[in-house]
Symmetry: C2
Subunit: 407 residues, 2 copies
């Protein structure tokens, strides 16, 4: 007898987290031999706990569903709710009561590390109480830091955004090319530098901007940095430097914390200036030259204009594959990608044990970080390039993108 | 006998300042009955003064020239060089000596207010010495603050960027829609609020984000602002507010100066936090809620992904029209647009006296600013909407935009 499914989104949104939702819903609607209704948790398990869900079955054959494929943000609403470590907590029977009420057979959660932690706990609790609800994680994160998968949906589009915008900023930075200047671009990534590394794709040839790239995986030394900048300015008068927001001294102190330690705002609060602003001030102080810093900020994860077709396709594919995997009996698994080849780019889908993923974090490999931590290697370029390929046409209305909005 | 022409770019770049260069060069190459060689000043008059120029004639029928149409930044290099007030200064004979050496008959300068000031001074000096070199200004500015023209090339694409990205940020801001939050978006425009006003286009319906919009043309009152935010939060739990970087108290003090007055960075320098950061801290302090601020920064003026087809077409058109105007004998003029109709959108090209333009600044009309300075009117929407219409396909190479680079 057909069961119902429920799907949710959790953690920070990406440009393609809704593509995965689209892929899963679309596939579920096709598999109506096995799946009856398709429910969506509103604000993830936090919302579901409070009985907040909607029926997505009605999206079948609507324009809304097609728009969802290219809508940034989290259509269902997200949450930062961490399920308790103890499976004895009262939230578990509460959630499973909801599953029972809704006749849920399949549970899908689109998210990063913390969301995989939820899938892990729920699947372990299900085993404990002999529930037959199946739990599948569908990966998303612009940070690309999930282990046991070649890469993560959301990264490709964010990487394409970063590479494109850094290329454009480099052009903007060079308009006064008879003067010396430094532009520091601060890129998302507290612990993993994948997205910052993607700025290397902005280069057209060797020696192009961004000349220097700093990731959180390598210890950041301020003096060495100043020397590198001096050196680079000898050949590049309008220097562009890309840094991860999370660059740190390798001993646990973020560079941005050095600034905030002594700054207060107009209200007497500690001023949380970013790493870019801190380095801007450092270079002005040490070199007395024109320096500006630019924080790429949330457009990195919500820009529809820089969607990678590869990323959208794979994100939707992960959703669809997840539905099939659940129907085939999988539970406590995350959908993962394996790279068979760079050129031609070939990946295969598979499932991985979510318990081995949820508490790990994958950084950029040490041997892909070169030049005393100021650049990334060709291996990274070969890895990242296929992920930004292909453009996506966004439906427009009066010159602006049309998106899907939950009613 | 055919003369040569020279063209330059000056001031901050826009996404379409090269479209105007493209339009002018393309038209000049067509008019080879009258125009022999096409020179480009490198870094504007500052470069020309030092003998820095290139021959653009060779661009005829190249891919490079076609790429120029959609390349951000200033292909020729820009400058912030202000010609001296006194026409007795030695720079004038120096520049006119260059014109003579290069057999220049036509001079084109693509820029904003300051560039029009250069065109004014050079054309007045030419009159004084009976030179027959003709001087034409081709307008560009994302700020849209030039008088005697309906609007300025560069504004449409920047407005499209702002409207699109604010719509996407509003989606990103609403993913935790079971919690209260405020997102402040800081938009370019020190004195004129046109670009900030364009954020109103992000709304799909009445009451949509951005709910509050603040321009520099209206005096900003902090207490009234806090009250407006409280009121807005009653109906919009994830509030998005757009502000011009130049919002001020109406008495000459920028809001961002209030913050910097008491903040110092790690090096003991005054911390120049933006208006957005200041208001973020103000709201956190007064309301104790989650607030973030986002500075849209230079992508506003160099994003190729948000080019307005209307803007690119008109920017190229202004360049071509400028060449024709010069050939017809005009000098000391700026190319201007007159709007014949909003719907259908019809503009005509014309010339305006550059002397009446160069020292003026056009702000958003007072009666287009409504709700105690917290919104813009329907008149603004009708004015701005046609300017963001149409998309432009950017040539791509391996997933990233291809641009023209000066050799």
């Amino acid at each position: 007898m057909a069961k119902n499914m429920i799907i949710g989104q959790s953690g920070g949104p990406t440009a393609v987290i809704n593509s995965s939702l689209y892929g899963a819903v679309k596939q579920a609607l096709k598999r109506n031999d096995k799946i009856d209704k398709v429910y969506g948790m509103v604000n993830g398990v936090e919302g579901l706990k409070d009985g907040n869900y909607i029926d997505l079955t009605a999206l079948a054959d609507t324009t809304e569903l097609e728009l969802l494929r290219t809508t940034p943000g989290a259509y269902l609403g997200s949450c930062r709710f961490k399920l308790p470590e103890s499976l004895e907590d009262e939230v578990y029977p509460l959630l499973f009561k909801r599953f029972e009420e809704l006749n849920i057979g399949y549970f899908f959660y689109i998210g990063g590390n913390d969301s995989m932690d939820s899938v892990s706990k729920l699947s372990r609790y299900a085993e404990q109480i002999n529930s037959d609800v199946r739990f599948i994680g569908i990966p998303k994160t612009v940070d690309n830091d999930l282990v046991n998968t070649d890469h993560t949906p959301g990264f490709g589009s964010a990487a394409k955004y970063v590479a494109t915008v850094v290329r454009e900023i480099s052009i903007d930075a060079s308009v006064y090319d008879n003067k010396t200047s430094v532009t520091i671009v601060e890129i998302m990534g507290r612990h993993a530098g994948w997205l910052t590394a993607a700025s290397a794709l902005a280069r057209r040839e060797l020696g192009d901007n961004p000349v220097l790239i700093y990731l959180p995986e390598a210890a950041f030394d301020q003096d060495a940095f100043v020397e590198k900048v001096k050196e680079a300015l000898k050949t590049t008068s309008n220097l562009v430097i890309c840094i991860s927001e999370g660059i740190n001294d390798g001993k646990g102190t973020f560079i941005c914390e050095l600034g905030s330690a002594v700054s207060t705002d107009a209200f007497g609060h500690k001023m949380l200036a970013g790493s870019g602003k801190y380095l801007e001030n450092l270079l002005k102080d040490k070199l007395g030259i024109k320096v500006r810093s630019i924080e790429l900020n949330v457009p990195q994860r919500c820009a529809s204009a820089h969607l990678s077709e590869t990323d959208v396709r794979e994100a939707a594919g992960a959703g669809a594959y997840g539905v099939n995997a659940a129907l085939e009996g999988e539970t406590g698994k995350m959908i993962a990608f394996r790279r068979e080849s760079d050129t031609p780019y070939v990946i295969t889908y598979g499932v991985e044990d979510v318990n081995l993923i949820c508490n790990e974090e994958k950084g950029v490999p040490a041997d892909w970080i070169i030049n005393d931590g100021s650049d990334v290697s060709e291996e990274f370029i070969s890895y990242a390039k296929p992920l930004v390929q292909g453009d996506v046409v966004i439906p427009k209305d009066e010159g602006l993108p049309m998106f899907a909005y939950r009613k």
